[in-house]
């Protein structure tokens, strides 16, 4: 972990929902702070887990400085936080970020207002599953460019598949693609085939009164901001492809993670991102077994519970063996982190976990 952190300025934790990414991201940030870095942890986290685990009510759209709290927690465990270090966290609001992003792209404030009032846009901004991921990366860019931090950890939004955060910008950029747009904003365009005109006519019938009007308005405005958007996207891709950025894949213990890793890796390579490490989180295997005689056999329910855990541990081991076969001869050595015995409530708890990272990664 220490070497991964020292190699990169920006680390992105990727993985599906429910694997403990947020706690891990915060712990990684703390680990970096202990090394004297100026850390910022960004989370897009609808369940506000990070705020809870940091022991505060809420995280805002801008970084909250928590250095003093971290210093206290470290001192209590006999660790000195270096003078150069700092620790901040934020939870960008996708909606706000997206709106200010769009505003910044249009020269004309009236254009932005039109868009915000458009009901399709409102649905889009709220529900589009790529928006969260894209805005997380947008915010990452803003924070990076601010120059206030030398270690930024982006905890990606919980997603169904690990690939979503990579695909999001592309999906969003498809919205801006001229191909689709020209058919919508210029339906009478001679270039549009009769087939396309038919499709448009049918869509009108299907969607109901007003839809096509709103759709055209939505698309027209997006068309205007295209250039600015594509420019942003290019800069973001440049950042992602640079040596400053690395990705840590986090998976859970009870899933077929070798396939997931293989897909994810291929996808990462395609996008020019670097995989720095992999954590198999929430494992039983990270704990030692007191031995075959523990617990004593007359405590049958307890024995059965321990047997269950051993069964889970064996499953993890099999998964890891498969994993090693899939990514054989590799620099990526998956590390096991333990399933926690209780939830994380404050910095002290995160410090315990951060120290455990060292044990795992070396």
């Amino acid at each position: 972990m220490k070497s991964i952190l020292s190699k990169r300025k920006i680390l992105i934790t990727a993985g599906t929902g429910g694997v403990g990414k947020t706690t891990l991201s915060a712990s990684m940030g703390i680990r970096a702070a202990i090394e004297g870095r100026k850390v910022c942890v960004i989370t897009i986290d609808p369940a506000k887990r990070l705020a809870t685990s940091l022991g505060i009510d809420a995280l805002g759209n801008e970084p909250t400085d928590l250095t003093h709290k971290l210093r206290e927690a470290l001192t209590a465990q006999g660790i000195q936080l270096p003078e150069t270090a700092s620790f901040s966290a934020l939870m960008p609001d996708t909606r706000t970020t997206f709106e200010s992003f769009l505003k910044s792209l249009t020269q004309n404030p009236a254009t932005a207002e039109t868009l915000f009032k458009n009901p399709l846009f409102q649905i889009f901004a709220r529900e589009f599953s790529g928006a969260n991921e894209y805005m997380a990366m947008q915010k990452l860019q803003f924070i990076h460019e601010s120059g206030n931090y030398d270690c930024i950890i982006l905890d990606t939004p919980p997603s169904r598949s690990t690939l979503e955060f990579l695909d999001a910008p592309k999906l969003l950029s498809q919205l801006f693609e001229a191909n689709y747009i020209q058919w919508l904003i210029v339906p009478a365009n001679k270039l549009a085939s009769s087939a396309m005109r038919k499709v448009l006519g049918l869509l009108e019938k299907l969607m109901g009164a007003g839809f096509m009007g709103y759709m055209m308005e939505f698309v027209t405005v997006l068309f205007e901001v295209r250039a600015g958007f594509m420019d942003h996207l290019r800069r973001m891709i440049q950042l992602m492809e640079s040596e400053e950025v690395g990705v840590v894949l986090v998976t859970g213990a009870h899933c077929d993670f070798s396939e997931e890793l293989a897909h994810f890796r291929a996808h990462l390579e395609k996008h020019g991102l670097k995989l720095d490490g992999m954590v198999v989180n929430r494992t039983i295997g990270a704990y030692r077994d007191e031995g075959p005689q523990s617990p004593p056999p007359h405590e049958s329910e307890f024995v059965s519970a321990v047997e269950l855990l051993r069964n889970l541990k064996a499953r993890e081991e099999r998964g890891l063996r498969n994993l090693k076969k899939t990514v054989a001869g590799d620099s990526i050595d998956p590390q096991l982190m333990p399933e926690l015995a209780r939830d994380v409530h404050d910095f002290k708890d995160l410090v315990h976990i951060a120290r455990r990272l060292d044990q795992c990664f070396g």
Partner: protein, 305 residues
């Protein structure tokens, strides 16, 4: 927004209706639980469709027959949209017009509200073809977006077949005799809290159809052993969030779950649960299949079907 135990349906009641939505946070086991329910239903003689959404490992729109009574659908927006347009507009030969049409693909993938709406629309249309549909909903936020879309649509666009259908869907999904909302959670703080939030959202959309709850992966009860070893029953008092060993973990885990389930007890939810499933490496079945079969057995044992 709270709800009393009198109005919340039991798991048995939820599993008795023709459409069952299995919802919950990511990682709680919705896929395994929903598949176990679908299998059990099909064995009881019901023609059953299990629906998953946007599975990248299967062909888009694929409908697979698993056995005599059990079918599986990989519901994807592009395919659903094309089919939907064909059905609603009754235009012959529509297929080729829309097939791979970039505008359709764009709308299906990113058309605000449309993407989610057609996914549910496809499921809703299939209800005529099956005795029972079990849907493995996308994790909390995304699953909810699907239901919101129906509400959005009928609020914004008047007239047109999509509007008609969205009203129809609201009616079906809002009717407790036609549709059951099963919220699955793990006995962990976050999933339990999120499940209550999900309940509140679903009640806003479907006030006549309160969801029911199921705890998955409940750890064996070894409380008395933990207490015999003087482990503090309050997990907040434990000095570190980690255990010492798997034996120590075994003792603490059930205390933690007991503590966490207080959230539900305070909300007056009757705790119905499914335990961890054992997996045997000697078996020729894949791990996931073993889990599903184990869950199916337990559903039957509890008399839920």
């Amino acid at each position: 927004m709270s709800n009393s135990s009198q109005t919340r349906p039991s798991v048995k009641k939820l599993l008795s209706v023709p459409i069952i939505f299995v919802s919950g946070k990511g990682g709680v086991g919705k896929t395994a639980v929903s598949q176990a329910i679908a299998r059990a239903k099909s064995k009881s003689g019901k023609k059953t469709l299990w629906v998953g959404f946007e599975d990248p490992t299967r062909p888009p729109g694929e409908l697979r027959r698993v056995n005599k009574n059990l079918f599986e659908l990989n519901c994807t927006a592009e395919e659903a949209f094309e089919e939907y347009m064909g059905i609603k507009l009754k235009v012959p030969g529509l297929g080729h017009l829309f097939s791979k049409n970039p505008l359709i693909r764009f709308l299906a993938k990113a058309g605000p509200g449309i993407h989610e709406l057609v996914l549910l629309g496809k499921l809703w249309h299939e209800r005529r073809n099956y005795d029972c549909i079990v849907a493995d909903m996308p994790s909390t936020g995304f699953g909810l977006a699907m239901f919101h879309s129906i509400g959005n649509w009928s609020g914004i666009f008047r007239g047109g077949p999509l509007y008609q259908d969205s009203k129809g869907m609201l009616a079906t999904f809002g009717n407790p005799e036609e549709c059951g909302q099963l919220i699955v959670a793990l006995p962990e703080e976050m999933p339990l809290r999120e499940s209550l939030e999900l309940e509140a959202f679903l009640l806003q959309l479907f006030p006549e159809n309160p969801p029911g709850f199921l705890v998955n992966r409940l750890f064996p009860d070894v409380k008395k052993h933990a207490m015999a070893r003087n482990v503090d029953v309050n997990p907040d008092q434990w000095p570190t969030p980690m255990a010492e060993s798997i034996q120590d973990f075994a003792l603490r885990r059930c205390l933690l779950e007991e503590h966490n389930l207080k959230t539900w007890r305070e909300a007056q939810i009757t705790i119905e649960s499914l335990p961890w499933q054992r997996v045997y490496p000697e078996s020729e079945l894949k791990e996931f299949e073993q889990v599903v079969i184990g869950l199916e057995k337990q559903i039957a044992e509890r008399g839920w079907l």
